[in-house]
Amino acid sequence: MTTALDARPSRFVRLAQASRSYGVVIALVVLVIAISVAQPSFLSFPNQMNILSQWAPVAIMGIGMTYVVITGGFDLSVGATYALAAVVAAAIGQSQPPVVAFSAAIAAGLVVGVVNGFIVTALRVNPFIATLGTSLVVGGITLAITGNKAFIVAFEPFTALGRDRLAGVPYSGILVIVLFVIAGLVLAYTSWGQSVYAVGGNLEASRLAGIRTSGVVGSAYAIAGLTAGVAGVVTASQLSSAQASLGATLVFDVLTVVIVGGTALSGGRGAIWRTAVGVGILATLQNGFNLLDIDAYYQDVIKGVIIIAALATLDRGGARHLRRLLAGRGPSH
C-alpha cells in the first residue's frame, strides 16, 4: 500500500518504482515459465492443486506472520503453536465432532497468540526472545502431555477439510484463497490495517497520534496465533492424525514466504499479496525441484541462496548498492 500514495512525476520514475514494487511478481512468472518449460507436467491441474493443498498450512500461517512483521515484530512460535493446534484437533476429534475439535484447536492457537501479544506489548520483551520463549513453552507442554504419541482420527468428516475437493479444488486450497482475500482487504482497506503499517513505520509517532499501539501490535500476534491454529487444523485433517513433533522447522518456511514476497523485516512496509507471491515462489521451486529430481539437500542450499538474494535485492535497494560498489564508486552511506 505504501506505493499507492507515491508521486507520479514521470514515466521513467514510475517504471522504476513499479519494477521495484512488482519485481517479485516478475520473478515468480519467470520461475513458472522456466520450470514449466523444463517439465510441462508442472502446469497440469492436478499438480497445481497438489501444490495448493501441500502449501496450505504455510500459506495460512504466512498471513499472521505478515501482519506481525509489518508491525516491526517477529513470531518464532508459530511452528509450536501449529503443532499444538494439530494435536488438540486430533485428540479431541477422536471423540467429538470435527466442529468442536477444530474450534478448540483454533482457540488454543489464539490463546498462544494473545499471550505473545501480551508479552511483547505489556511486558515489553523483544519479540524475538518473547516468541522463542513461548515456542519452547508451548512445544514442551505439547510433548509432555502427549509424550509425542500420534493421535489418529479415522473419521470421515474430520478429514473432509484436508482431503475432499470441490470441482477438483481441495477445500484447504479454497480456504487459503478465501483467507488471503479477506486478510488482504483487511490490511489495505481498514483503519486497523493502516494502523498496522503505522506502528511498524514509527511506533512512537503512532502512539502520540492516538493509535492504541498495544492493541494493534497485540492483535497482530493474536492473529498469528489464530492462523497457526487454523493451519494446524488443516494439517491434522490432511494427515488424519497429529503428533507433537509436527512442524519443527515450519517457522522458517513461513518466514521465508513473507520475506521473499518483499515484506520488510524492519516493519512498516509489506502486503498480503506479497506473501501470496512468496508462497508461489517457494512452492514452485520446491515442486520444480521434485519434478526435476533434484536432491533434497541441494534444495535447501538453493532456498537459502534465494532468501539472501531476496533480502539483498528487495529490501533497501541492495542491488543498486552492489552495482555502485562494483563500479568502484564507493558506498553511498
Binding site: 520514475v13 493502516q194 513505520g201 509517532a205
Partner: protein, 516 residues
C-alpha cells in the same frame, strides 16, 4: 580596491546543478562559486534547497545534471569518498563523532598514521595537539569525544578537516546548538581558516551570525539562486526579503488575541507524574498558553503528561466542566480532545516512508477505511482542508513525509491536529529548526486555532518567542510551573524568576508551596 581573493583559485565551483526528487524539483540550475580564503554564506527558507545542495556537493546524494568541481576535481556525484579525497570536509548539523573514542582517534577515524602496521599513537596525538592548538581547542587528545561539549565536538570536526588537509569546509547550521560565547569562538576559528587559505561555506538560519562572519552571501529560494552579493552589501532585512521573495511577514496580527478568553475547556488539578507537578491550571477557549523554561526544565515532560503520553501518578481533569479521570494513554487523551504534536518530528511525529496526506490522517484512518485503496481522494476532503489551512502545498501531499523540509513536516503535524476534533492542542517546540517564513505560518495557525474556540499550549526554547506569541506565559523549572507572568513581560523577567527559584529551592524536593 583590488581584493586578493578575487584572483584566488576557485575552491568550489557549482555549475547549473539540478536535482529532483519524485514530485519536487529540489534544485533548479544552481550555480555557486567560492574562492580559497573566502567564507561564503548560504541562506534560504527551509525547503529552499540548501540541504539538497549540500548533500549533492558532498556526494551524499547523486545529482541529475550540472557539475560540481572541488579544488580542481570534477565530482561524479553520489560519491562522498571522492568528494572527501578532493578536499571537501562536510560538517553536518548532526555531528559524526564516535562518542566512545578519544578526541585524537576521532580525528583520524578510519585512516590513522601507522608504524609497522600498528597505529602510531604518538603521531596521532602529536598531530592532534598541533592542529588543536592552531584553532585554540584546548582538549586532551585522550579525552573521550563524547564527554566534550557540543562546541568542542564541532571544533573536533574542524580539526579532522585540518589534519586530513581538506581545504574546503562546509558547515551546515554550525551555530544551531551553541551559546553566544561558543559562536564567538567558532567564528574566530573560521577567521583563522580564512587566513590560512581555506574556503568555508557557512549555511545558517542565524542571519546575524552569517552577516558577522561571511565575505559573501548567496540566497536560495525554491531551488534557485536568487541573489549572491558581498556581505557588506547585505542587511538583515534585505536578506529576509530576498529569502521570502515578496511574502510579507505577518508579525503584527500574530501576537494579539482577537477574542476574549472563553469558558474553560480544560481544568487540571493535582497532576503528578515522574518529574512533573502541576497543581492547578485552567485553560480557556481562545487562549494561547506559552511554556517557557531553560533546557532540561521539564517543558516537554509537562506537555507529554498533559497529552497522556506519560504514566502519571495522580491527577484529575475537567473537560468543559465535566470531571474525568486522567487519560492513561495518548489515545484516551485524543478522545477527550487533547492532542500533542511532539518536538522531534522525525522520531516521534511522522512515519517517514508514508505520504504527507497519510501522515495527516495518522491516528484516525476511519475516513479512509473501507472505500477502496488508500489514495489521496479516499483520505478525504478533511485532509486536503487541513493541509490548505496550514498552507501546505497540495502537490506535496503525495510525497513521502521523510523527503520534506523541517518546516513542511511541522505543517503536517499541525494539519493532523486540525483534521480531527481537538479542543486543546499541545505543541512541543513547534518552531524548532524551522525558518522565519515557516515560523510565521505556525504562529498564524496557532492564533487561528485559538480564535476558533480551541486552546493552544506550546513551548519553545526561545523565551522571546514564547512571550511574544502567547496570551499567558507559564514559567517552568524542575518539571513544575513556578510562576505565571502577565503578557508582555520581558525575557529578563522570565529568567530572573527561574534563577530566583533555583536559588531558593532544592531542585530535588517534590513538596513545597503550591505551584502557580
Amino acid at each position: 580596491m583590488t581584493d586578493p581573493r578575487a584572483v584566488a583559485p576557485l575552491a568550489l565551483e557549482v555549475t547549473r546543478l539540478s536535482k529532483s526528487y519524485p514530485g519536487v524539483n529540489a534544485l533548479r540550475g544552481v550555480s555557486l562559486q567560492v574562492r580559497s580564503g573566502e567564507v561564503h554564506g548560504l541562506v534560504g527558507e527551509n525547503g529552499a534547497g540548501k540541504s539538497t545542495l549540500l548533500k549533492s556537493i558532498a556526494g551524499a546524494v547523486p545529482f541529475d545534471s550540472g557539475s560540481v568541481r572541488v579544488l580542481g576535481t570534477d565530482l561524479v556525484g553520489g560519491n562522498p569518498r571522492q568528494a572527501a579525497e578532493a578536499g571537501l570536509a562536510m560538517i553536518y548539523q548532526e555531528l559524526t563523532i564516535v562518542p566512545e573514542l578519544s578526541a585524537s582517534d576521532n580525528v583520524h577515524l578510519g585512516d590513522p598514521p601507522r608504524r609497522f602496521g600498528v597505529v602510531d599513537r604518538r603521531r596521532v596525538d602529536a598531530q592532534f595537539r598541533e592542529a588543536a592548538a592552531r584553532i585554540g581547542l584546548q582538549v586532551s587528545p585522550r579525552a573521550k569525544a563524547g564527554s566534550l561539549s557540543t562546541a568542542n565536538q564541532q571544533l573536533l570536526e574542524i580539526v579532522r578537516a585540518m589534519v586530513s588537509e581538506r581545504r574546503l569546509v562546509i558547515m551546515d547550521e554550525p551555530t544551531a546548538s551553541l551559546g553566544p560565547e561558543d559562536i564567538g569562538r567558532l567564528h574566530a576559528v573560521i577567521r583563522g581558516l580564512r587566513e590560512t587559505g581555506h574556503a568555508v561555506v557557512y549555511v545558517s538560519h542565524d542571519l546575524d551570525a552569517v552577516l558577522d562572519i561571511c565575505d559573501a552571501v548567496t540566497v536560495l529560494r525554491e531551488g534557485e539562486v536568487v541573489e549572491s552579493r558581498p556581505a557588506v552589501e547585505w542587511t538583515k532585512p534585505a536578506l529576509i526579503r530576498s529569502m521570502l521573495g515578496g511574502v510579507e511577514l505577518d508579525s503584527a496580527g500574530a501576537g494579539e488575541s482577537t477574542t476574549t478568553a472563553g469558558d474553560a475547556v480544560l481544568s487540571v488539578r493535582g497532576l503528578r507524574a515522574p518529574g512533573v507537578r502541576l497543581d492547578e491550571l485552567d485553560v480557556a477557549a481562545g487562549q494561547i498558553i506559552g511554556v517557557a523554561g531553560l533546557v532540561g526544565s521539564g517543558r516537554s515532560r509537562l506537555l507529554r503528561a498533559l497529552a497522556g503520553a506519560l504514566l502519571i501518578d495522580e491527577g484529575r481533569c475537567e473537560i468543559r466542566g465535566e470531571a474525568r479521570t486522567w487519560p492513561r494513554s495518548p489515545a484516551a487523551a485524543w478522545r477527550l480532545g487533547i492532542a500533542m504534536a511532539p518536538e522531534d518530528r522525525k522520531l516521534q511525529g511522522l512515519v517517514l516512508d508514508q505520504s504527507a496526506a497519510w501522515n495527516i490522517a495518522l491516528g484516525d484512518f476511519s475516513g479512509a477505511a473501507g472505500r477502496g485503496p488508500v489514495t489521496l481522494d479516499r483520505l478525504g476532503a478533511g485532509v486536503r482542508a487541513a493541509a490548505e489551512a496550514m498552507a501546505f502545498s497540495a502537490s506535496r501531499l503525495v510525497v513521502a513525509a521523510g523527503t520534506l523540509s523541517g518546516g513542511n513536516q511541522q505543517k503536517l503535524m499541525l494539519a493532523r491536529l486540525m483534521n480531527r476534533s481537538v479542543s486543546v492542542l499541545l505543541l512541543d517546540e513547534p518552531t524548532r529548526g524551522i525558518d522565519i517564513g515557516a515560523k510565521a505560518h505556525v504562529f498564524t495557525a496557532m492564533r487561528e486555532i485559538a480564535d476558533s474556540g480551541r486552546a493552544v499550549i506550546w513551548s519553545s526554547s526561545e523565551i522571546e518567542e514564547v512571550i511574544e506569541h502567547s496570551d499567558r506565559v507559564l514559567v517552568v523549572a524542575g518539571g513544575r510551573v513556578i510562576d505565571e507572568l502577565p503578557p508582555r513581560s520581558s525575557p529578563h523577567d522570565v529568567l530572573t524568576r527561574i534563577f530566583d527559584h533555583q536559588r531558593t529551592h532544592d531542585v530535588h524536593s517534590t513538596d513545597g508551596e503550591p505551584a502557580l
